[in-house]
């Protein structure tokens, strides 16, 4: 298949890459841009470990073609940290021990970040849980992840911003 030009930005860096048009977004990020923080865990859009943000919204990187983000701005886990300073959600994950094997963590962080962007003041814990429903974690039982998001929402890390 003829390769197509994709122009997009990843973590605020512009990229121009020639790819097979059936390349998935997660494949473009991992195999063409070379950022491996984003993982893959299934073939059925079920696990969420490939979650990234496209124009600030959470997207499972295996659910869309890379060509669909032409001209858009993609943020991956590598883009959360700014100038060596962690994003509050990353600090909260460390403080709560909200990861174990770490394989789902990138996707969890991106989903949490997008959730907090859309819902800075969740009305209760269940709202956070529902927001994270699409992401699987086999290690933590989720509660430490939920506590991290609640801590950021409560303003605990405001001074970190």
């Amino acid at each position: 298949m003829e390769k197509k030009l994709l122009r997009f930005s990843v973590n605020e860096v512009p990229y121009e890459i020639y790819i097979n048009p059936k390349t998935l977004l997660v494949e473009a990020i991992r195999d063409h841009v070379g950022l491996t923080g984003t993982k893959r865990g299934c073939e059925t859009v079920s696990c969420g470990v490939c979650t990234v943000m496209v124009n600030g919204m959470a997207v499972k990187g295996c659910s869309i073609l890379a060509m669909q983000v032409d001209g858009m701005s993609v943020t991956t886990v590598e883009g959360l940290e700014k100038n060596g300073k962690l994003d509050p959600i990353q600090t909260a994950f460390l403080d709560e021990g909200a990861f174990q094997c770490g394989f789902c963590t990138s996707g969890m962080l991106m989903m949490a970040k997008a959730f907090l962007n859309e819902t800075p003041k969740p009305k209760d814990e269940m709202e956070i849980r529902r927001g994270m429903e699409g992401n699987l974690c086999r290690c933590t039982g989720y509660n430490s992840i939920i506590r991290s998001i609640a801590a950021v929402a409560s303003g605990k890390y405001r001074e970190d911003k």
């Binding site: 491996t36 865990g41 770490g102 509660n143």
Partner: protein, 765 residues
């Protein structure tokens, strides 16, 4: 909890590998990419049982981009391996099979190509002629005389038998006022590691092989690969970088590791094999499905007399770690109670289905599901309080499980009290809500050495640099359970330095001492003891210099705490640890200080050097019409000795709860005609965030003399009680006795409907 007497133990610290994990810097086998690397794909058997007559891969080789195809017959030594290395007849799995397939998904051939896509296309071009054989996928059928023979030389397909017995069961049953017997059926469960099986193998013509792989024990894989490839152990380097989950499923040799190695040896280029999720479901392994018969005799005051259990496990096609699960389920079925007589007969039966193996809890969740529900049913039949009945018969400190184990620390009684208080505090529950409890116990590492390792079970080397930083080399494998942080904490505490002074090196057989790895909850106790010993060895050497330097009267004792080297009687007198390191190196002719430690359990019975105890309570809402369950709260009273890694402990317990609830309710893994029916994450249900209950843990303060600083198992044992606690909540709420795990919503609804119909019939009569 008593006040923390330690400087760093049991304090809330960030994981030592946390920064890498929250920034995407942690590199897993899945991420490894080497120059000149090829991609491997595996052709798998579509038949549960068949002879391989011919494999024709000539067309596959013609596909541009395909470099080589490997088959068991042509390219392997045909060695049948197994993790029970001491027992040749239990080494039954060639991985890339030579002549016969025994389950759907078994590797038949492997392709290496320049891309994954081409390798996958090549699989379609391989033609295999099979002679399809009759198959059997259920142990109760496979054990029959007329069943197909799966492995030669195993009468009635019985792979392993195990017996555990003490006292005379029939004599003690005579003394019982009440005897109850039940049959149970336990389903499989998939490990479902977020990172599927993966390996990158790189063989070079000088006879050296390096394998990056997602494993629970780098040493096991080094040794197993040496055996099947005909290489020296020392010429194989296994690197386990970050590991995306294990849960008992990643310490046997798997298709990714073996096929990547064989392909790499054929073309002398690196080869990467990563399982798809579907491959991971059908061709890695699973928790052992079991049929459980339990007969229990008690006196009318609730005193336990005797128990008899007969268990038939679905071994699937190969032995793997399943033989250990067969033993442990029998042992933990007696737990945590005192039986005057106990007899367990276990039969592991080969079938033509996905092999079964160890999985978090290692046979105990199955055992507890049966035992702990039956105990509640007995208490109900006799009109006794189920918590008091457990207390009356429970283990206590100093109890000896006849011929098996001595219990040196036990907080069971306190756990029961805490849960009793919690149950009382709940008061009257709303409609459709009920509480179920279950007790459990678990081991802190196994004593058995069926692997026949010539090395100490755990070893550690502590090296102190000029600036006081510490290199801790361990073979203990970090797989997310927090072992690197736990061992760093132990090292920092023993040496008297800060956590940030410690660097942990693990997961590389070239640079880490051999260690059996992460299974059976062994690392905190065993690698912890080795680490403590190594740190204390290094500290002793440092203090020799401190003594000379500080010139105290020799009657005084010196110690180090948080970087301060001091006179124990006069703590203000001393010197900085960091200054001392500089001086000490000078005194050693520039050599770094090196401490060594090791641990192998001795004189600790048959099973484990120490046992944890716990009682689990669940507050459950049940809609009997639909069978739908919602767990409102989970409370655990937990005795793991001295907690070491505070955050790690909380995380392990919450994680164990999520997996245990999965085993009890969500995770149904049906196999029909030898085929896994739901090999994907749409149809295989894992618990998700909204369904996960709040989990409260009450730690009981005990001290385990065999453990480092009094620590023992935490995090695996809590996989054991939830399924039974859920069953007990259903029983107390609806009167239904659910004898099959997972307790599926459909099964509850069906049982409820039958019960209602029976009730109406009775009324009519």
């Amino acid at each position: 909890m008593s006040e923390n007497k330690y400087a760093v133990l049991n304090t809330r610290v960030h994981n030592v590998d946390g920064y890498a994990k929250v920034t995407g810097r942690s590199t897993y086998t899945f991420d490894v990419k080497l120059p000149n690397m090829l991609y491997g794909k595996i052709l798998r058997s579509p038949h549960p049982h068949a002879k391989i007559l011919k494999i024709d891969y000539s067309e596959a080789l013609k596909l541009p981009g395909v470099l080589t195809v490997a088959t068991g017959k042509e390219d392997t030594l045909g060695v049948r391996q197994g993790i029970w290395r001491r027992y040749k007849d239990l080494c039954d799995e060639a991985i890339l099979t030579v002549d016969k397939v025994r389950y759907i998904g078994e590797p038949v051939a492997a392709v290496a190509a320049v891309s994954e896509e081409i390798a996958e296309k090549a699989l379609d071009l391989i033609n295999v002629d099979y002679e399809v054989l009759p198959f059997v996928d259920d142990p109760m059928e496979a054990i029959k005389k007329e069943a197909p023979v799966i492995h030669e030389g195993f009468e009635r397909n019985v792979n392993v038998t195990r017996q555990i017995a003490w006292g005379d069961v029939e004599d003690e049953m005579e003394t019982a006022d009440y005897i109850r017997e039940d049959w149970f059926k336990l389903g499989g469960q998939h490990h479902m590691c977020m990172e599927t099986r993966a390996a990158v193998a790189s063989y070079t013509p000088d006879g050296k092989l390096t394998v990056w792989t997602s494993t629970q024990s780098a040493y096991y894989h080094q040794a197993l690969l040496a055996g099947v490839l005909g290489l020296r152990e020392g010429n194989i380097r296994v690197i386990a970088p970050y590991v995306g989950g294990g849960f008992g499923g990643k310490f046997e040799l798997d298709g990714a590791q073996f096929c990547a190695s064989i392909l790499s040896m054929k073309c002398c280029k690196p080869v990467k094999v990563v399982f798809t999720r579907e491959e991971d479901f059908i061709a890695s392994k699973r928790r052992t499905p079991m049929y459980y018969y339990v007969r229990t005799g008690v006196k009318k005051d609730g005193t336990f007399c005797a128990r008899e259990a007969k268990v038939f496990t679905n071994g699937g096609a190969y032995t793997g770690m399943g033989a250990t699960a067969l033993y442990l389920t029998g042992f933990f079925h007696s737990f945590p109670y005192r039986w005057k007589a106990y007899r367990y007969d276990g039969y592991r039966v080969y079938t033509n289905s996905l092999p079964s193996t160890s999985m978090r809890g290692f046979g105990a969740p199955q055992a507890m599901f049966c035992s702990e529900q039956q105990i509640d049913w007995i208490a109900s039949d006799l009109g006794l309080d189920p918590i008091e009945m457990r207390r009356k018969n429970g283990h206590y400190e100093g109890y000896e499980v006849p011929g098996q184990a001595t219990i040196a620390s036990c907080g069971l009684d306190q756990c029961l009290t805490k849960i009793q208080e919690w149950v009382k505090s709940k008061g009257k529950l709303p409609k459709n809500r009920s509480i179920g409890i279950s007790a459990a116990g678990f081991m802190s590492g196994g004593i058995f050495n069926w692997f026949d390792s010539p090395y100490s079970f755990s070893s550690a080397v502590v090296t102190i640099n000029y600036d006081g930083t510490v290199e801790l080399h361990v073979g203990a494998q970090e797989i997310g359970q927090g072992s690197s942080t736990t061992l760093a904490l132990i090292c920092a505490e023993a040496l008297g330095v800060k956590l940030e002074d410690i660097k942990v090196h693990m997961g590389d057989t070239d640079h880490s001492p051999a260690d059996l790895g992460a299974w059976g909850s062994r690392q905190t106790l065993m690698a912890g003891n080795a680490t403590k010993m190594a740190a204390e060895d290094a500290k002793r050497q440092l203090l020799e210099f401190a003594n000379a330097k500080l010139g105290f009267n020799i009657i005084y004792d010196l110690d180090i705490r948080q970087g301060w080297v001091y006179n124990v009687a006069r703590p203000e007198r001393g010197m900085s640890y960091y200054d001392l390191c500089k001086e000490a190196l000078r005194g050693k002719e520039g050599q770094r200080i090196i401490g060594r430690g090791f641990y192998t359990p001795r004189r600790k019975g048959m099973i484990s050097p120490a046992y944890s105890y716990m009682v689990q309570g669940l507050d459950v809402e049940i809609d009997p019409e639909t069978g739908h369950i919602k767990i409102h709260e989970s409370v655990t009273a937990h005795d793991c000795g001295q907690p070491i890694n505070t955050l790690g402990l909380i995380g392990q317990l919450e994680g164990a709860a999520s997996m245990a609830i999965g085993f009890g309710y969500y995770e149904y893994l049906p196999v029909e005609d030898g085929k896994v029916m739901n090999p994907n994450l749409v149809d295989y249900k894992l618990i998700r965030a909204p369904e996960m209950p709040d989990c409260h843990v009450i730690e009981i303060d005990t001290y385990e003399p065999e453990g480092p600083y009094g620590a023992k198992e935490a995090g695996e044992g809590l996989t054991n009680p939830h399924a039974a606690a859920l069953g007990n909540a259903i029983f107390h709420g609806t009167g239904l006795q659910m004898k099959e795990a997972p307790i599926r919503a459909e099964a509850i609804a069906k049982a409820w409907k039958e019960k209602q119909e029976k009730g109406t019939e009775k009324k009519k009569k």
